[in-house]
């Protein structure tokens, strides 16, 4: 699913992520700063195995709706931010590939950094998404899970 509005582009899909596409899309003529965060599938975990890939699972409509809630709060907290794009990949994500990309454009860099960091912190706390770690010969749900909360309940 993809929601693309004037200043907001949210997508949850099995397509490989292209960070530059998001960074280019958020950039407006008056923006001097674009901050892009990539959450990348990595080999290390709390399990004693070398992880080779991750499997992400969600209900796409619910996840997309909760990501849009994150974007709405970010736009409210940093009104100077011009545009925000957040894409989350589902299905298999191999090592070193991005599973989530957040891109934020702003006239100046401080707000771009702050809003991008807020978006990824909030996404991890508020969006229904489950990660299975896959190693040679086995797999398990990530132990790095937290109770889901509403974005309005996060500390300011």
């Amino acid at each position: 699913m993809v929601v693309r509005e004037e200043n907001e582009w949210v997508a949850v899909s099995a397509q490989p992520l292209r960070p530059d596409d998001l960074a280019t899309w958020v950039t407006r003529a008056d923006c001097g700063a674009v901050v892009t965060f990539c959450g990348v599938a990595r080999s290390t975990s709390s399990f004693e195995h070398e992880i080779v890939e991750l499997e992400y699972e969600t209900d796409v409509a619910l996840a997309e709706s909760r990501i849009r809630d994150v974007v709405a709060v970010a736009r409210d907290r940093w009104p100077v931010v011009r545009a925000i794009a957040i894409h989350h990949r589902i299905g298999t994500v191999k090592n070193r590939e991005p599973a989530v990309v957040v891109a934020v454009a702003s006239p100046h860099r401080r707000e771009a950094f702050d809003a991008a960091q807020f978006c990824i912190d909030a996404l991890k706390r508020t969006v229904p998404m489950w990660k299975r770690e896959v190693w040679e010969g086995g797999s398990a749900w990530s132990e790095d899970a937290q109770d889901i909360v509403d974005v309005g309940d996060l500390a300011p």
Binding site: D59, L62, A99, V100, L123, V127, P128, W141, Q146
Partner: protein
């Protein structure tokens, strides 16, 4: 009767991602789902949030055939 949406570990423990479950309140539906799907599922429900139509709801919340109840275990996105 409501539509149950089972996510992540809850989906795995139930063996299905969706189910139609009887009950006039959220509590009834969950009790019936627990009975149907058994122990691993019950344990996951105990540490999950329960949403009705995408929002937190109390256990005495009335539900009907147009409502979607989601079992939302602890999340690990990003």
């Amino acid at each position: 009767m409501s539509r149950l949406l089972l996510l992540g570990p809850a989906r795995e423990a139930a063996g299905v991602g969706h189910a139609e479950v009887d009950g006039d309140t959220l509590a009834d539906v969950i009790a019936n789902a627990n009975a149907r799907f058994g122990v691993p599922f019950v344990e996951i429900v105990a540490r999950s949030r329960l949403w009705v139509n995408g929002e937190d709801a109390p256990l005495d919340h009335a539900v009907g055939p147009t409502d979607e109840i989601a079992v939302v275990p602890p999340v690990s996105g990003g």
